[in-house]
């Protein structure tokens, strides 16, 4: 699954560590999602949507 997490994070000038801390996950998890090596669970995807104040489908989309 593709995502625009890196762009959204950069727009807010957050580091991966900043975002990870907000979500209570490891920085490695954020990196794995951004590089599309790992698809987050539904609760984590919802948490991301809530942080960026966007619908999930605007952050994650099909290839």
């Amino acid at each position: 699954m593709k995502n625009k997490l890196r762009i959204l994070r950069a727009e807010r000038q957050w580091t991966q560590a900043d975002l990870a801390e907000r979500l209570n996950v490891s920085r490695q998890t954020i990196n794995a999602i951004e590089t599309e090596k790992y698809d987050p669970s539904l609760p984590l995807a919802f948490a991301l949507a809530q942080i960026f104040k966007m619908p999930i489908e605007s952050i994650f989309f099909d290839k």
């Binding site: 209570n24 490891s26 920085r27 490695q28 998890t29 990196n31 090596k37 790992y38 987050p40």
Partner: protein, 133 residues
């Protein structure tokens, strides 16, 4: 370099503390158990004392479980995959050992299968974690 958050550092410290505590208990229980079984008459009580060191080992599983629950979802996945791979590798090694017994390799205790699983799991976790760096 991987930055660890304070809560991650605290989780690691807690895990190490619990492992050390359980292993110390294991050492004490094992020593006492070995001393007692030599002096006891055969019977169910002796068998109970002989298997007493299993209790702290069960405690070790509880510690592993608590550590697992404190991980985030990616690390839970890594640990699960690592256990599955370690179990597969352990099966292959034990099977190979079994076949080598046919050509004279001494018979090893089944106790070593547990040691193999415990040693292989973090190795596979380390290898799998590299995928997500």
């Amino acid at each position: 370099m991987n930055k660890q958050f304070p809560h991650e550092k605290a989780a690691c410290r807690r895990y190490l503390f619990e492992v050390i505590l359980v292993m110390m208990c294991y050492g004490v229980v094992l020593t006492v158990s070995l001393m007692l079984v030599r002096t006891m008459q055969p019977g169910w009580l002796r068998a109970l004392v002989a298997i007493a060191p299993v209790a702290p080992i069960a405690g070790l599983f509880v510690v592993f479980g608590r550590y697992y629950c404190r991980q985030d979802e990616l690390w839970r996945r890594i640990w699960l995959e690592a256990v599955a791979l370690a179990a597969g590798a352990m099966t292959l090694i034990v099977m190979a050992g079994g076949f080598l017994e046919n050509i004279g390799l001494p018979r090893l205790s089944s106790f070593w299968t547990y040691c193999l699983l415990v040693c292989l799991t973090p190795i596979f976790a380390f290898i799998l974690a590299r995928r997500y760096r």
